[in-house]
């Protein structure tokens, strides 16, 4: 009986008894979800245009954040550091396309995936040589990002909204809108989508594979920088940030590898549901730390019914 109470009654009673706390849980879940969605977007963009599962997305987050902080430590003003970091990420995109991807055109997907593992290892080594392994402070206030908090008292309770979290949500939302506009309204955006839909057909009408690849890797670099700033301001900038990227895997499984909408909805769903589960069920029933596996179980359940994910395209193989 006790266990039934813990599953079906106590959590909902808690939610009703402390609605302000429920709002805090949902807010924290939303913030995490937005950041998961951002990382997943980086994967989706590259996969859509090249069918490459980019294992290096996580280390790109670290590399972008370290470059930004490292440049500022060298005395470069904050916003110029941002511009220079974007230039570095563009250079990285060009280098990856020229040195790694171009020679591998036409190779099986697995080879390209392995190549991104190689890129990851290279960037880890390069990052450690250039920036060292120490935990660095993100230049949050130097970038003009507000660092205080907004304290509300809904239902006579307490709800704390960090300015930095509000900023992260707004910036992520703007980035997603800009990305959707770019993909749907511009010539280059349509070229990216065309490549994702049908490689051969896109090439036959003159779309440049090289240009599109550089562009998507650069956009993934921009996303990595925004993600790095958002996560880095929470716990500092170090190689531990790379681990965060693994959180995008269940998001991709849930939302579908090709779908931008899937990445966003999947990220938000996982962020909010895992937080709710941990607080109201995982902690009391299972001793906590359910966030380590909850997202994967959720994604597996979805895959049982929709192998292509919630928003992925159904694959029909003609034989």
């Amino acid at each position: 009986m006790e266990i039934l109470n813990k599953i079906f009654i106590a959590p909902f009673a808690d939610m009703v008894a402390a609605p302000d706390f429920l709002m805090q849980v949902l807010w924290e879940g939303l913030v995490s979800g937005v950041l998961y969605a951002l990382i997943a977007l980086g994967f989706v963009l590259i996969y859509r245009s090249s069918r490459i599962f980019n294992f290096a997305q996580g280390i790109m987050v670290v590399f972008a954040a370290l470059t930004l902080v490292g440049l500022h430590e060298m005395g470069v003003p904050a916003w110029i550091s941002v511009a220079l970091t974007l230039a570095v990420m563009f250079g990285l995109a060009v280098t990856i396309e020229r040195v790694v991807l171009r020679p591998l055109v036409g190779q099986p997907d697995l080879i390209l995936f392995m190549a991104t593992i190689g890129i990851t290892l290279f960037l880890i080594g390069l990052g450690e040589i250039v920036f060292g392994g120490a935990n660095k402070v993100m230049i949050t206030s130097e970038l003009g990002i507000p660092t205080g908090d907004l304290v509300l008292e809904p239902f006579g309770g307490l709800l704390i909204l960090q300015h930095i979290d509000i900023t992260a949500v707004i910036v992520a939302a703007l980035l997603v809108i800009a990305l959707l506009l770019f993909l749907n309204r511009t010539r280059m955006g349509r070229a990216i989508r065309a490549l994702g839909d049908d490689h051969q057909a896109a090439l036959s009408v003159g779309i440049s594979l090289q240009t599109v690849w550089v562009l998507v890797w650069f956009i993934a670099g921009i996303i990595a920088l925004v993600t790095g700033i958002a996560w880095g301001s929470r716990a500092g900038v170090s190689f531990a940030l790379e681990v965060i990227a693994y959180k995008a895997l269940p998001v991709l499984m849930l939302g579908g590898l090709e779908s931008i909408t899937g990445a966003i909805i999947g990220g938000l769903m996982i962020g909010m549901l895992e937080k709710m589960f941990e607080i109201y069920w995982g902690g009391p029933l299972l001793g906590g730390n359910t966030e380590s596996w909850f997202a994967y179980v959720l994604a597996l359940v979805v895959l049982l019914f929709r192998p292509q994910g919630l928003f992925g395209e159904k694959i029909i193989e003609r034989v």
Binding site: I124, G133, W231, R234, A235, G236, E291
Partner: protein, 429 residues
């Protein structure tokens, strides 16, 4: 073809000569981690360890006239890689320094067979203190159970009975290291009547602890004790600031007292405390020697030599060096064997006088090891973040030995029983 043969021959000769070079001196490998999610906290400690050995080599020509061959094997804090490093280095090593509780637990049974001492200062399995059961393992100068006991003594004002009815959260890494204090805290909770709430943090969730801190907010604990490492610490301190948890009720183990982690929050972290068996002493004579023989020669990668973790690295290598020196003097040899080093580590006498001779007064409390006491139980100080760095905030604290010793003996017996056949050193009994 001839060219290839010459190349192969040259490589073979090179390998032989390289091997010979490697075998020179006393080989003390360190299973380090300067990469991966724990690099930020591992790097300064590894720098301190390396620099101390470099100083001995440059200033004194090694220890007892024999050079120290100090080499790192990178594990990235991965238990699997750590075991690989142990296997790769054990043939020539006089010691293994596993550098994670997970790796320590894996190599613990192997060292009985390979007869190599494990040196795990301030980490590893707390019952390793029982030298009769763990003949080859050493965790001076204090164990995790010592740390937990000292923290409880401090937050209770020296009277753990006053914790009755209080609620204490243990925020811990969900990893063998983070779980290490749980048996002691559970026993003490039963004994003194406080409520212990365990809040684990997964390795992949270290930087995203909002759920854990929401739980802490709901529990409203009187104290939060943190058993954190790597990126977990900085994130936890950030979340504590964010949720407005009182910093003077938040105390960490010695691995959760890294300057760089607290610099993330600066002034907002004022009042956070960490128990520590080492204390930075920027004006200690050894720091001047390091400057002269190591830093000024461009042989150091240390970024902040006055930091808690860097100076703890110095103390850790000092303990190993003293073990080597003790063994050399006792056996009247230069090059020592692992078995001789085991004796040296078992007979450490780090007195105030010896610390003064080493130029390290105040960097670690004095302690002694023995056949049945492989820890030394030095005690420790509480360090407090003043907004810019850690400062001493207590006199020397001691763990409750009467409470811990029976638990150590019991846990060691259980470990030996579960891992039969397990050799026991009857001479220590």
């Amino acid at each position: 073809m001839k060219t290839w043969q010459e190349l192969a021959m040259a490589t073979a000769v090179g390998l032989v000569l390289g091997g010979a070079a490697l075998a020179e001196g006393i080989y003390t490998p360190n299973l380090a981690y300067r990469t991966g999610p724990f690099a930020a906290t591992g790097t300064p400690i590894m720098d301190g360890q390396k620099d101390y050995m470099a100083l001995l080599n440059a200033r004194d020509g090694g220890i007892g006239g024999v050079a120290i061959n100090f080499e790192e094997c990178e594990t990235g804090y991965s238990t699997e890689k750590g075991v690989e490093c142990y296997e790769r280095t054990k043939a020539d090593a006089v010691v293994t320094q596993p550098w994670s509780t997970g790796i320590t637990l894996q190599v613990l049974p192997k060292t009985n067979v390979d007869k190599i001492p494990i040196l795990a200062p301030g980490y590893g399995f707390s019952p390793m203190s029982d030298g009769a059961v763990f003949q080859w393992a050493f965790n001076p100068p204090a164990s995790y159970w010592d740390g937990a006991s000292m923290i409880l003594n401090e937050i209770s004002g020296g009277d753990p009975a006053s914790l009755k009815g209080k609620k204490i959260v243990l925020l811990h890494l969900d990893h063998p290291f983070g779980k290490e204090p749980i048996p002691l805290l559970e026993t003490m909770a039963k004994e003194y009547g406080f409520d212990l709430v365990l809040v684990p943090v997964g390795l992949k969730e270290m930087q995203n602890q909002s759920a854990q801190w929401l739980q802490i907010r709901r529990e409203r604990p009187d104290f939060v004790i943190m058993w954190g490492w790597g990126a977990m610490n900085a994130a936890a301190i950030n979340e504590a600031v964010k949720t407005k948890y009182p910093m003077d009720q938040f105390v960490g183990v010695w691995w959760a007292g890294h300057d760089a982690d607290l610099k993330q929050v600066g002034e907002a972290g004022k009042g956070y405390r960490s128990i520590s068996w080492s204390m930075p002493q920027p004006d200690a004579p050894i720091m001047a020697d390091l400057k002269q023989y190591v830093y000024d020669k461009g042989n150091s990668t240390a970024e902040d030599p006055d930091s808690v973790f860097y100076q703890r690295g110095l103390v850790i290598s000092m303990m190993l060096a003293e073990g080597i020196r003790t063994a050399q003097q006792h056996f009247d040899v230069g090059e020592i064997t692992p078995e001789q080093l085991r004796w040296g580590l078992e007979n450490l006498d780090i007195s105030d006088e010896r610390l003064a001779e080493l130029g390290m007064t105040g960097m670690v409390p004095p302690f002694k090891t023995s056949c049945d006491n492989h820890t030394g139980h030095s005690g420790g100080w509480m360090l407090e973040w003043d907004g810019t760095r850690f400062v001493q905030s207590s006199d020397l604290l001691q763990a409750d030995a009467s409470f811990i010793r029976p638990l150590e003996v019991k846990a060691a017996e259980e470990y030996a029983a579960e891992n039969q056949p397990w050799p026991i050193n009857e001479d220590c009994k």
